[in-house]
Symmetry: C2
């Protein structure tokens, strides 16, 4: 709410300054700072909207064990205005929750959940509702069918107190379950190119092969990204936090909601890897009463626990619930997008950041084909494809741990020149919590453990690529020697035949075999290498 | 609040998924995503805390018309723990508002105010309180004296509902007005270097010469950044929004709080540059009833108004209230930090972004002295000093409009090589609203109008620098010619004296004058150029 104060009013005292004191809702904050949600620039805002709805659909389908079938339709609706519709076959949203789920910022099912999902904030979709209302004054239209009910309604946000405004609610004839969201958005623009909706959906489809995405663009072109894997995706598993990933504050909060009678059982049941044996170990080094109720844990007790956790050897956090892409999926994805000459893929073991949150980095380097971005003849810029929990990150590359890690690799050491060779780099981070640098979730925080792990993964890739390039170079040299020598075989055979009076053809055949045997190893290598190519 | 769900529970239906539905407070959100507030990394978090308190102090003093006197004390307090104290001589905070001001996220006097201030969100200081409580479990200690009261208390945030917890409140003996905030913070580290507290305070002092800052570091070293300007700073003036900076939604919101009886007077009194004559112009092209009450403005009316605004010629928004550094201040600042050989400074006219928010870019390029960062012999990386409303931006350079603009300048055209020459670049953006890319306010959004304006300002600087470098080069060449020729003057004078039988000394003197007159222009130039240097 704007408040213009009288510029002539008296100045100076704290009381006159604090006359203007006000509290603001989170909706008001993001209304004023919409660029922080990813609404900065017409084309960027368009992708942000599609991104928020599509990730929500994918998460909902995964959670419900449904093979996702998502349709995205974008239609022009006036000057810098578009209608955007996203329809899924997910579980739908119960009527009771619709207002909170799509028209209340910071409400949802994902915040503080300990499982790997695309969304994690409870901001995205409500942000779209807010953006529609501040750019066109129009509500979002919803059609939702769950197993129990089917309805339509309009939704907007009262930004003064961040509460939903629901209108035109009425029941509809049930069809299959699912959610359709449609809105008119202003200050957006449909663009093709590297950071447009088509590219976003293509990359999403490629790393989510169990998903079918239909896209109808403003020119009514219809694109179908076909499902290539029919397995119902693994439902994200909720895990318990690892002792090394906890803060003192976490212990306090967990203890306050625990129903356990003793700290010893509270620890075992709230966190992973804490066994009765570990409790015995802890008792020896941690001077607190493990038999008192968890509700009595104070800051000093919690601090003692955290310090003791650091002195004990723990089994690494369970990363089995992390849902990664996997080598074959990465190869398929990259071949599909870039059709390169060669791909190096590395998936490393789970690591932890912030002390104990498990994550896995997968990365790949591709050379040739459509890899890299051609600038001039023999002049490329490398192309970095960033993913977090299988969601493509198209914006804010400058703040991202992935970009930072790419900068830190000494590419020269691997005879790789990102400015001269046609190279593309792909990195995907999987975790139950992605530490995004901003609310818009467009880049990963440059945390040292994450940057290093990405760097090491890229170095592994670079090493393999170096090996491939070296072999290729050697093969080329051997082959050119072989060809040069073979040129003289015919001549030499005639001469030898004349001198020795033996059969020219027999000599030629033997000579050819002899020469070939020298170079057959090289030839074999080339075959091996081409076997690594993805068809 | 953590909530671990039973992993064995039934899956699939919307109802089972939405069982876990929850609303969260903004404090909870930032507790989980503290990196978004600038708490990422031990050294970074330390600077964030000092930054939040110091900018608040500067704003408060400016608002109250007080010459700021700020003391910052940092003491070690255990493993990765420090006590941080910031004391100012500002107007203090009334008791009634203290909880909301420092322990409620999104509360304050600055949000939505149309004047140039350092803070603008109502998040920073409350974020510090939150960070102290989640890292050490300790409240923040406050001592505040206003003209009417003097008290001490402890403060923390109830993150469940983002409300303040005030304890140990008691009145104290009044001294001069001011606020002292002291807290124990964990997960922080004191570091020197380019992005440390000392550098932050030094840069703050340099661009706020009316301010005196005393800093006591953890080794008890005392640094005083002395006040160099004794003028009481101009109180930030509240301005009205310009028609071209308004969104449809803004019109609706302003109209709802207006006390005016007619749209015509509402427009004239709520916004700048709308005169009765402009209302007549608008009436001709905008098909709404200008005599109806503003409360009756609907979205369509507002959209018509906005579209009509775009068709009219407006006087540019009033930028007189923008408080810039000014050329002499920039020269003094840069000389003080870098002691360079030459500085080019450019301040351009006010421009607008988002259609109508005025801003001014000032920039400077310095060469030589301590400019640039020396990597190896003759190998430098350029050093970019970013400021927004006189606040140094030390982090998140990758997302910043300033970094982007520096990349976009074709430096080669000006014979400037940022990787070979010792160059530093300084940019300050002044505006009533800085569109920060993130909640942590560490970088400016890469909005096209802002990036372009910075780029143009830098190009102006580069042109001037190019001119200086060219002259310097020419002077060098002329001088070396002059010196070469002068070497032979003595010899030539003897020879000529022998041939002509004239006095050698007379010949020598005349010859010297003749040669000098050829090069005197170059010499003069050098003097001019050195006159541009800052002593």
């Amino acid at each position: 709410m704007p408040s213009i104060n009288n510029p002539n009013e008296a100045t100076g005292s704290a009381d006159s300054i604090f006359n203007k004191f006000k509290e603001h809702s989170i909706s008001e904050f993001f209304k004023k700072n919409k660029q922080m949600l990813g609404y900065s620039g017409l084309a960027h805002s368009m992708v942000t909207i599609v991104h928020e709805y599509v990730t929500n659909s994918l998460d909902a389908c995964e959670e419900a064990g449904i093979l996702p079938d998502i349709t995205v339709v974008i239609k022009e609706a006036g000057d810098s205005k578009y209608e955007i519709l996203v329809e899924d076959n997910g579980p739908g949203i119960p009527k009771k929750y619709i207002g909170k789920a799509l028209a209340t910022i910071l409400a949802g099912t994902k915040f503080n959940s300990y499982k790997q999902q695309r969304g994690q904030q409870g901001i995205g979709a409500a942000g779209c509702t807010l953006f529609s209302s501040i750019t066109t004054g129009k509500p979002i239209h919803i059609q939702s069918t769950t197993l129990n009910e089917s309805y339509e309604c309009d939704l907007s946000i009262n930004t003064l107190d961040n509460t939903p405004i629901i209108s035109n609610m009425h029941d509809t004839e049930p069809k299959h379950t699912g959610l359709t969201v449609a809105g008119i958005f202003g200050e957006v623009k449909y663009e093709n190119g590297d950071r447009g909706v088509y590219e976003y959906l293509k990359r999403t489809a490629l790393v989510n092969p169990h998903c079918q995405i239909t896209f109808i663009d403003p020119k009514l072109e219809r694109y179908i990204f076909t499902r290539s894997v029919n397995a119902i995706p693994k439902r994200p598993k909720e895990v318990k936090p690892h002792p090394l990933g906890l803060s003192i504050n976490d212990i306090i909060e967990f203890s306050q909601v625990s129903q356990e009678k003793k700290i010893s059982t509270f620890l075992q049941n709230s966190f992973t890897r804490i066994s009765p044996k570990k409790i015995e170990e802890l008792k020896k080094i941690c001077d607190i009463d493990f038999d008192k109720p968890p509700s009595e844990i104070n800051w000093d007790d919690a601090e003692k626990l955290i310090n003791s956790f650091k002195k004990i050897d723990w089994i690494a956090p369970d990363a089995s619930s992390l849902n990664i892409l996997g080598e074959s999926q990465i190869r398929a994805t990259i071949s599909n997008i870039l059709n390169p000459e060669h791909i190096s893929v590395v998936e490393r073991k789970p690591k932890v950041f912030y002390g104990g949150i498990p994550f896995i980095i997968e990365s790949a380097i591709a050379i040739g084909g459509n890899a890299g971005k051609k600038m001039e003849e023999n002049d490329y810029t490398s192309n970095i494809m960033r993913f977090a929990n299988k969601v493509p990150l198209l914006f804010d590359a400058g703040s991202c741990a992935i970009t930072e890690a790419v900068k830190k690799v000494s590419w020269k050491r691997y005879n790789i020149d990102l400015e001269k060779q046609p190279i593309s780099i792909m990195v995907n981070m999987s975790s139950i919590y992605i530490p995004y640098s901003g609310v818009g979730k467009e880049s990963i925080q440059q945390d040292q453990s994450i940057v290093n792990e990405i760097k090491f993964t890229l170095m592994d890739c670079a090493r393999e690529m170096h090996h491939y390039l070296k072999n290729k170079e050697m093969d080329k040299i051997e082959m050119s020697k072989y060809k040069s020598i073979m040129k003289y075989v015919d001549h030499l055979s005639s001469d030898l035949s004349f001198i020795t009076d033996m059969d020219k053809n027999m000599i030629k055949e033997k000579l050819s075999k002899l020469i070939e045997s020298h170079y057959i190893k090289g030839k074999g290598k080339e075959d091996d290498a081409s076997g690594e190519q993805v068809s």
